[in-house]
Amino acid sequence: MPGGNHTQKFCGITLLVAATLLSGCGGLQSAVNPAGPQSNHISKLWWVMFYVSTAVFVVVIIFLFLALANGRKRNALAGPGHYAPPELKPLPEGERKKRNLVLGATVLTVVVLFVFLMESFFVGRGLTSDLSSKQGVSIEVTGHQWWWEVRYMNVDASSIFSTANEIHIPVGVPATLTLKASDVIHSFWVPNLHGKKDLIPGKLSTIWLQADRAGVYRGQCAEYCGHQHAHMALWVIAEPAEQFNTWLQTQIQSAVPPANESQKRGQQVFLSSSCVMCHTINGTRAGSNIGPNLTHVAGRHTIAAATLENTRDHLSQWVTDSQQVKPGNRMPPNLLSPEDLQALLDYLQSLK
């Protein structure tokens, strides 16, 4: 039955569209699911703009259809196959009516835009104000092609440490982020917590954000930065204060020394192969800052800038041939013998 088929198709498409639209709600990376004071501001602004724009859209469409209906009426009078030209001798009373309508619409548009402007201005002030008064966690985020370096600052130099692609913050405490870039412009965007902020080489920019409820929020580079821009994500993990402090204390420590023969061999492999040219493991001779700091790599949830889950298989895949996962990334393929590779994986997985 063709009619039923059509209806089914229509229902299917409607469902698909609705599902696509709804999948944006309540997500881990969603500006309409705010979890902090700034994202609250932003989402309020978004909803005001959404409702006003929807109303404007509906009104415009109504007038468009009225105009279309008018034109069709004229064309119908002109006879089949002919189209009626515009009226060359408009009537004065009609002209006056139209002019008033256009004037009214213009004034209304200006008023709406002005309301948007003021709203946007006050939201902007709310986002950036009293930055200096925020005494909380101080974090330095550096954008690299294509990963995030996260450095926890401290007045005590021995408590400064560096991690990658994962920002832990305590719930209800503001975190001040200093944003830098090492190569090209990136943009830091965790929609559940804040708007976008560009990371510009040679320039420091500072924002603060705060999570009001515990949770995991996804962030994404929001400025096209090269081949693997799409695979440049990070996680913000907001956790209660005591949990955060435990994590902090772990991160400050140097790497766990290898416990068994396999891990010892893995450490030797790490230090004598190309790993050591780019990565740091605190407590060993490896101290290069080109790639992510691996001191506590096993404690992270993902690898390769939130591209892969941190499992042994993925780690092995990444070490041996990362170009399959993220073509063009800076990590060279490594030809290791199977024994060396297993030992290296044992070692890396011991770095909690």
Binding site: R74, A78, A84, L88, K89, L91, S272, S274, P327, P333
Partner: protein
Amino acid sequence: MKDLKKSIAPKNSCVIAQLFSKDGSSPANLQVGKGGLPPLERQRRDRFDSTFKQLRQFHPVAPLALERGQAHLPNLQITAPALEFSHRLGSDRLATQSKWFHQHNQSLDAVSEPPHLNRRLSLTLALLLICASFTLISCKREQRQFEPPPPNPNPVITMSELRPGAQPEPPIKNPAEDTAYSLSEGKRLYTSYNCSGCHFNGGGGIGPALMDEKWIYGSEPGNVYATIVEGRPNGMPSFRHKISDYQVWEIAGYVRSMSGQLGKNVSPGRSDDMNAHKSEQTSEKKIPQASGVPKSAEQP
């Protein structure tokens, strides 16, 4: 003037247009009532407008046909008195109203069909096609090889340009010297792997300069490769197993480009920061000269 008034504005009503149905029969008449068409000398804006309004309600194209003096439309006939009236009227008001059509060189026939739609459409399409083809052509760019080739298990490496016998071996070709991308990678790695820690930006410091014409251990790609992989006395460390094979070739290519040994077409991109020397694209080629053992390496 008085003649005209008599002839086209009779005391009784006047049929000014006839509307035909599709089969051409039973015409509907548009009559202008008592007084007929407005007398010429008394033409006042409102009277005139009301006539036209009547006409427009009768048929949307009728006023236009009247102005242009065209009596026949597919289903409309303008009567002679109305046409004449319109013609004689000839006032600036009508002239300005129909100016638009004069400017666009349109007759009523043309009005019946959208003007030059087909020609315009085909012109637009052709323009779009040209734009699209240009875009597609510009999309073609140098292909980047992200998956490096497997390393040569037995690379022929010479430690020096000096060799026994009369026949010199053919120089090894550096695969990375073919594309600007791999040389740019070499430039990036040169800083990342801290070559610049000793050689600086090519001017030398702790290590020898790389941008001059002096080559202590040879200027061929194979020589530079060997220097990086094997290391050299008095400070140059060995990077065997530390740097992937293809990356060594990229760095070796970049080192050679610093003194202009490679063509400008494969020069790496310019540095983002201020540079002490000219960019690789503009540096002139220096003729390599073997400079022998450096002072620091001499036996005491």
